[in-house]
Symmetry: C2
Subunit: 474 residues, 2 copies
Amino acid sequence: MNAPISHARLLPHVDQQEIPPALLQALQARFGQRLSTAMAVREQHGRDESPFAVPPPGAVLFAESTADVSDAVALCSQYRTPVIPYGAGSSIEGHLLAVRGGLSIDVNRMNRVLAVDADDLTVTVQPGVTRKQLNEAIRDTGLFFPIDPGADASLGGMSATRASGTNAVRYGTMRENVLALQVVTASGEVIRTGTRAKKSSAGYDLTRLFVGSEGTLGLITEVTLRVYPLPEAISAAVCSFPTIADAVQATIETIQLGVPIARVELIDANSVRMVNAHSKLALREEPMLLMEFHGSPAGVQEQAGTVQEIAAGHGGKAFEWATTPEERTRLWTARHNAYFAAVQSRPGCRSITTDTCVPISRLADCLLESVAEADASGIPYFLVGHVGDGNFHFGYLVDPANERECDRAEALNERLIARALAMEGTCTGEHGIGLHKMQFLEEEAGPGAVDMMRTIKRALDPHNILNPGKIFAD
Amino acid sequence: MNAPISHARLLPHVDQQEIPPALLQALQARFGQRLSTAMAVREQHGRDESPFAVPPPGAVLFAESTADVSDAVALCSQYRTPVIPYGAGSSIEGHLLAVRGGLSIDVNRMNRVLAVDADDLTVTVQPGVTRKQLNEAIRDTGLFFPIDPGADASLGGMSATRASGTNAVRYGTMRENVLALQVVTASGEVIRTGTRAKKSSAGYDLTRLFVGSEGTLGLITEVTLRVYPLPEAISAAVCSFPTIADAVQATIETIQLGVPIARVELIDANSVRMVNAHSKLALREEPMLLMEFHGSPAGVQEQAGTVQEIAAGHGGKAFEWATTPEERTRLWTARHNAYFAAVQSRPGCRSITTDTCVPISRLADCLLESVAEADASGIPYFLVGHVGDGNFHFGYLVDPANERECDRAEALNERLIARALAMEGTCTGEHGIGLHKMQFLEEEAGPGAVDMMRTIKRALDPHNILNPGKIFAD
């Protein structure tokens, strides 16, 4: 959990509304013990991995069914009271914070895998199922769900933020892997947004409209997902490079050649140093790429051979292979621990995390200019990236009490985003807008497109009760 | 072109509004010769590949730029007059027909490839560029655009109907391959719906909202697309099977095993017979699969070996290979000629074409029950399918003057759709709703979801001028 920050540049517009006593009474009558107004419970639901400090929601409902969600929203709709869906609490842009007060609807008890249609390569889950839980549940079927944002996020939350992560370069993001949703609308009505058919041109793509809508258009109560046959062969490799530029160039060539690499992650020397200290490892403290190849045994070997050749052309060395699950886990430890190792490298610090994504040909320019700026700032940072997609994250490790430092870090983020937008990229590849990126969305999409989003929001949520105050100013 | 039909079951609700003289004058002042009210021109823009006979639009504008489209829509908006975008005219569900009258905006002169960003695997085109034109334009870059709906459709039209076709099993549909759009809204404003970043979680997914919106939410004036490196090796194969069931089972196993096959098309014995007669060929008049494999030479060989083994297990025989472009073209002739061969097999007939798509495990059941019904009906038909996606098309070849026959064919389509919906499939995999499938959309999506679509339509097009009367009743 990031330490909260009370930095002026980051303060969201908070205007909390109390839950009307009559609504509270009606909710209590309907839900009994499952409704909580205990401060500890509310506080737990009033923070996420973002740096914002906002007072908690007025109450928390532990929903157990679609009917629970539907009834709660219908009641809140009557009283024009905000509702905020809550999954794993791992979002990092302030999506969950009750800036207008209201009811937090916790869906963690809605954690059943409803259907595994192995023959169709689809599953249907309740929104509180996490990605790891899903993969446990389907392990015996020879299938897996590839989307891996790092955190063991809930699949409802991952849908709502259009999450992606390390496997997206091969398997796509939640955008490509959600087939259909069940959604509770602003009035409490329950709709389905699609079927289990792999493709369809039946009317507007409501599924994709809800994927990434951050709880502002409806509450997701079921998710139908694509899953994949476990590859016959998986092989992981780590390779060090003299410079970040070399690692990035090797990545760009790999993508441009069309190698179907499953993962290609950049870890900068800072991160390696932090991971070595944190996990008592002795990795070469140089920029490295972590890669994974999926396919037939021959196919994996062929892909890996091609990439090894490309890497060698850019000074890649210490190409280390891992084919057993244990060896792979060891290699991926560095990547998975990077965030925690970084935050622990500076006691009391918090990380201001960036999330730009640019067309692959601009990746080197965007990244290297930003590294130069970060180095010049003197602020400690780490850098990791899903570089095969052109997406990377700086974590600026700031002292939350040091306003000047926070200010400098935010200024770095702003310049990075301006740079990415000038290169036809996006301010957020996978974290979403939440509270933190509203201004950047306006710059990226333009006022016309944001107005269109707002028009859709108003049409589908006329009383502005669905996670209000997020994505754009209300 | 299908012969028109005046069959009661197919008659859309036509309520045409005249273009107000003052608007016509304003359009003429702005566009001069590019605005036409000549009956021949209007009639050409008043029909597509659908069976509906609707009087033509009141005028046709040959737009040459986004500014043209924007100005025309702004003028029509002032006068509450409908606008209908027109690309290649190859849609088959009545999308283009002027059921409420108005102005047809022909975008065929907007046919420039605006940017080829080969290093990023993206291109940006004007909406009148066709898929073949695009592939010609990028041939020297070593890239290709895979989406192939059969017709040489415009990329604006393919976006607007969420088209797909033979390569979708490997490369996805327009849903997965449109990165961003430039759109003229109902008021004539110009917006962009995304960037060239491969992924983004920046606000609502307006791109996917417009893909498949059939001109009812805005007019597409630019399309940014993903393109792919031409595979190092391509190999095509044709294989005959004793029964449709065998061919379908071989397909299902191929998909379930995760073989990254690029194309797998079913052609039934009727279609082969019609193609043989039409093109003087001597193909075995049995159900066949046409397949294509893309990858490295070794990868292609491996995939093909796996599929050949699967096919042999289902009585597959006469596995014939083609690796040169000429041989491949010869093999694909049967598939590409199927529609025309079929329509010519019964002089004066028209084809009522179905478009269901079901989860792959239900494909055999859905298909075989429908074949039995079609056989029992006595109506000549052909059957082709993008079976790797669970999507297939019957073409019922009816005499348009024979109302009973048309009725029986429509009844077959209705039962097929009911069957597909019961199997968690969709009434349209790739053709769209248009005029023909409104009732089925209601059955598939449910009134709540269709209401939501209507709410979005009303919010974004308050005067209902954008291709009104399509997708759902207005």
